[in-house]
Symmetry: C2
Subunit: 381 residues, 2 copies
């Protein structure tokens, strides 16, 4: 291997910390340091040896850095930062606002094309590994139906929305797949499911001290009727103490399942009506990994009754179920691990002259691993 | 779209038939015809309009064909046919003898490099989609443990091995994951599992007429003690009638699960001992899709108790579970569908001058779909 790929972390929240933890697991990657908008002296890193610099120092240290991991929020930071940084650096980001990916791509691509850098955007698990497996399943089963279930896990966006309600000190929102729907899909059925039939929402709230029951009912009402976030779901609200929140909801677990239920062996022409559109996977970012945490006390108790119907004849076709499933004890650490693997790809593409903006769809798996193509074929194929 | 990718099927067993069924689901791909070593007049195709040619006709029809799908066995046919055909054609095969992939790759690569064709080998689900997700999970979670469970489903190799025993008229072998081991792994545990603890084997046998109980016991004994195939597993043998075999075991279901249980957020250096080697996924080809069928009457009754342990702190690390799961009512039809998607990739790579032998590790997902990169980003990312 010899030389290592020199990676710098820009932004140091939970995600940046996860990248710091992930890099030592990759012997071909080394950490240059953390670059922050805060006072470097105020930042305590995971590893004592990690150097912390002010963000402006990035540009003067340019020749010491191969790839940046931009660890910032998708709402306002990444749309600004990624195109700007792509003018000077090959980089990876985790932009997760599905609806705005096309415009983010365009802005980053213009900068990266002009500069000859390589910018891999929207890396993580959704968008990211979920997207990759969604697309792969579409390619293999052109006639089929998609389902994405999220959770059990903490949705930061929903937790934040609750925190903005007057009288709420802290909140943690768990997204839970609805057991019956999940079991039906895993068994190969293709039900039409409203939002409410796919996910339910469980919210733990720490209310301001001294709020009476009437006030608590007002908070609960504001939560369960909140448009987009809760109104379309069955939502349970539980008031707990700050101590209980700290003790039982300190982690950031998440995960979910991407399904494609396809039909093969059909009589000619059947099943062609459905196009490649996937409205369903695009919505509020469930997987956002940028804040701090909680543990799912209940655990996940989905049961499976995956009995496929009896074998089929070619005339009636066969049901094929593709599922990709993540159960993550730490959402930010996992997202960070995906980012680090794609640093390797970004570096290699840049070295090979493949500049511009790239997504997970553009990158062969072989670019992600530190071993040779021969080793991959011998051990992983 | 305009022009279509013109695909020819070489070899017409269950897999070739599956390709014939899959092509009409892909509007950008058209079928030139089936090329067979048998007398074309003796071949009944799925669709009446499908043309059948003798295999030699391939070469004179070369300018009408963009991509071949070579649908033949991995034991003796593909090692001969793929390198030979790669001298004249861009092609895809489903070579599934894991241990011999490196030499198959070398032979095919030499031919394809010399000819400027593109040959994608070992396409299917294992090797294939399972390999892709195994490698992806390795890249994302460098510190972790792999598990592949196969089944419930029919293993052709094991069924064939039983058929070679004297007194056996027909046999169907179901590979079954062991429920307890499966549940432990899905819950994030990393047990060390012997072959017997991961899979059990259920064999249905039609014995020659008039065999007495002693003879049946001899057959059963020969099965359960057969090295490599059965000796290392708990195997149940059931004698049934030819009618029952035809009625209840006419399908070829299969599937399985690839897991990687990884640890992230560890103190520096922890978890680096484990390399990328994966002995476990390499063995007798379970997923081989070349013969005809049976239905899994018992269905799959694995239960899930996926409660993750409570949230973790960074000091102790977090457990992350990646799972890829296929439940296939028809193994050959599914494998055929994967092959057809990779025909699109082979064609595009050849058009782009990317010649030589390729595997699923070398091909970006974007090459597999008929839609544009913009559409992919807008609908699937």
């Amino acid at each position: 291997m010899g030389e290592t790929i020199r990676v710098a972390i820009v932004g140091y929240g939970n995600l940046g910390r996860g990248v710091e933890a992930a890099i030592p697991q990759n012997p071909d990657i080394s950490l240059v340091g953390v670059f922050t908008r805060r006072d470097p002296a105020s930042v305590t890193t995971l590893h004592e040896a990690t150097r912390v610099y002010p963000q402006e120092a990035l540009f003067e240290m340019k020749d010491q850095i191969d790839v940046l991991v931009v660890c910032a929020g998708s709402a306002t930071d990444l749309p600004q930062m990624t195109p700007l940084l792509a003018k000077d650096f090959t980089l990876v980001d985790s932009f997760d606002n599905h609806a705005h990916i096309p415009e983010h791509f365009a802005a980053v691509d213009a900068a990266a094309q002009a500069a000859g850098t390589t910018a891999v955007i929207s890396v993580g698990w959704d968008p990211g590994l979920f997207s990759l497996n969604r697309a792969l399943a579409h390619a293999v089963l052109p006639a089929g139906t998609d389902y994405t279930f999220w959770g059990p896990g903490v949705s930061q966006g929903h937790s934040d929305a609750v925190r903005r309600i007057a009288g709420v000190i802290d909140a943690r929102q768990y997204t839970l797949p609805v057991e019956a729907a999940f079991a039906a899909v895993r068994s190969g059925q293709t039900p039409t499911l409203a939002a409410r039939q796919k996910h339910s929402r469980l919210v733990y709230v720490v209310a301001a001290e001294g709020l009476d029951e009437v006030e608590q009912q007002r908070i609960e009402e504001q939560i369960v009727t909140m448009p987009d976030y809760f109104a379309d779901y069955d939502t349970i609200v539980r008031f707990i103490s700050a101590e209980q929140m700290a003790a039982e909801h300190a982690g950031l677990p998440h995960g979910g399942n991407v399904f494609r239920i396809g039909r093969t062996g059909l009589a000619e022409g059947v099943g062609l009506a459905e196009g490649a559109a996937l409205a369903e996977g695009v919505g509020l970012a469930e997987g956002s990994a940028l804040t701090e945490g909680a543990a799912l006390a209940e655990g996940s108790a989905l049961t499976e009754d995956a009995a496929l119907a009896k074998g089929s004849t070619l005339a009636e076709g066969s049901t094929q179920v593709i599922e990709y499933n993540l159960q993550l004890q730490s959402n930010p650490e996992f997202t960070a691990s995906v980012l680090v693997a794609y640093c390797r790809a970004a570096y290699r593409m840049q070295q090979a002259g493949q500049s511009g903006c790239k997504t997970i769809f553009d990158i062969p798996i072989s670019y992600l691993l530190p071993i040779s193509a021969e080793q991959m074929r011998a051990t992983l194929l």
